[in-house]
């Protein structure tokens, strides 16, 4: 009886599963995701930590021997991250404070800011100021990323600090912090503007922080461009996405 049933199961499984093929079209997505994961993992290794220690010493030397680290014309921003923005409990699982939200193609999204408590999941050393972008109410880890070390004292301030997210579903997302006097941010592909970013301002007790969020379907090299209120270009940040990343 059992033998006959086993034979029937074998036949039925072959009949049902043999025609199924792997999603070869997703190869490049997997390759990019693997590379990003390896980079994130490397960021928690001893070599990276040592490197960051040197960078940290350098940053402190800048504090005690101040020389202008900021780009010319940038005023009012500090190299100190807005710690008041962070979730006191700290979190790397999608917690933190929501600084912007919206809807894109029928899907809700949220942008969080928080500080990490521990170097878990390759998300940077303790106390780093991070952003996290998430679509909908999906569980932590889905369509979710973290900008390692952005805004940390060891990174000199810039006009924009973009992060690229490639969710498993939906368009690519670019987001990041914006420092004054940036008034608009655009996504350029092949030399042409492909998406206009929306700016969001997050007011806290001590200061306000601006963020930009843009959605695009990039296929090649993408450049994030920041402009001031007069339309002058302030900064260009190239980002290689998709195949070849």
């Amino acid at each position: 009886m059992s033998t006959k049933l086993e034979g029937q199961i074998r036949t039925a499984l072959r009949h049902s599963l043999d025609p199924i093929r792997g999603d070869i079209g997703a190869t490049q997505t997997v390759v990019s995701a693997v590379k990003r994961r390896r980079i994130a993992k490397w960021a928690t290794t001893g070599a990276f930590t040592t490197l960051m220690s040197f960078a940290s010493v350098f940053a402190w030397s800048q504090v005690f021997n101040p020389t202008p680290l900021q780009p010319p014309g940038l005023s009012g921003s500090s190299s100190t991250p807005p710690r008041s923005n962070s979730n006191p409990a700290g979190s790397s699982d999608g917690g933190g404070r929501m600084v912007a939200s919206g809807e894109h193609e029928g899907r809700h999204w949220k942008l969080y800011a928080y500080t990490t408590d521990a170097p878990a999941d390759g998300q940077g050393p303790n106390g780093d100021f991070c952003h996290a972008f998430r679509f909908g109410e999906e569980s932590p880890g889905d369509d979710f990323t973290c900008g390692v070390g952005e805004g940390s004292p060891i990174f000199p301030p810039e006009y924009i600090s973009p992060v690229w997210v490639m969710p498993r579903h939906g368009p690519h997302v670019f987001y990041g912090r914006v420092a004054p006097p940036v008034a608009s941010v655009e996504i350029e592909e092949a030399g042409r503007t492909s998406a206009q970013a929306r700016l969001y301002e997050s007011q806290t007790d001590s200061e306000s922080t601006k963020f930009f969020v843009a959605f695009a379907q990039p296929s090649d090299r993408v450049v994030i461009v920041a402009y001031d209120a007069e339309g002058n270009e302030l900064q260009r940040r190239p980002m290689v996405v998709g195949p070849g990343d």
């Binding site: 009886m1 059992s2 049933l5 086993e6 029937q8 199961i9 074998r10 036949t11 039925a12 499984l13 072959r14 009949h15 049902s16 599963l17 199924i20 093929r21 792997g22 999603d23 070869i24 997703a26 190869t27 490049q28 997505t29 997997v30 390759v31 995701a33 693997v34 590379k35 994961r37 390896r38 993992k41 569980s139 498993r168 070849g244």
Partner: protein, 178 residues
């Protein structure tokens, strides 16, 4: 037609750049992993997502992708099973806290309307039982190989399979699987 990746020898693969090595490993193992994930999840779309996530985790961990490990298949299947179990645990937790949204029907079974009878029938089994049935009756693995993969004794595997067969036997005629 011969697949390009099938004729790449191990020596040639070692000389490939990282991107191409990862792509090669993915393309070699994706079909088998997808079939396994479909048996587990009962949903092709979810299965493909789970497979991508599993490959990302496993290949992201391997220090030397230059040497395709013989155990890669096993690692990927274990990871798929773990991802799926975590997903189910999370769903259970959500249902517990959101009784109003609980439909009482598992998401895995709702998408099986059009799928084969055998896959629908397998949904009555636990994820571990489904995995064991797949390995034993689709991949023709020995009891010893399954025991190694599940990290349990031969007797435990036999008992998992026996339980699965008993469950399936009861519903086999009802589902009219051929």
């Amino acid at each position: 037609m011969t697949n390009f990746h099938e004729v790449v020898t191990a020596t040639q693969a070692k000389k490939l750049p990282f991107d191409e090595r990862v792509a090669l490993l993915y393309e070699r193992h994706a079909s088998s992993a997808t079939r396994y994930a479909i048996v587990l999840t009962g949903n092709e779309e979810i299965a493909r997502d789970v497979v991508q996530e599993a490959f990302t985790r496993v290949l992201g961990r391997f220090r030397r992708t230059r040497q395709e490990p013989d155990v890669l298949d096993v690692y990927i299947r274990r990871t798929i099973l773990n991802i799926w179990r975590s997903h189910l645990r999370r769903k259970q937790l959500e249902r517990r806290h959101l009784p109003s949204t609980s439909s009482g029907e598992d998401a895995t079974t709702t998408d099986l309307e059009s799928r084969d009878q055998i896959l629908r029938l397998l949904m009555i089994l636990s994820p571990r039982e489904r995995a064991a049935v797949f390995l034993r009756y689709y991949q023709d693995r020995s009891i010893a190989q399954i025991a190694q993969e599940f990290d349990c004794s031969h007797g435990a595997v036999r008992s998992i399979l026996m339980r699965a067969l008993n469950k399936l036997r009861n519903d086999w005629e009802v589902f009219d699987v051929h």
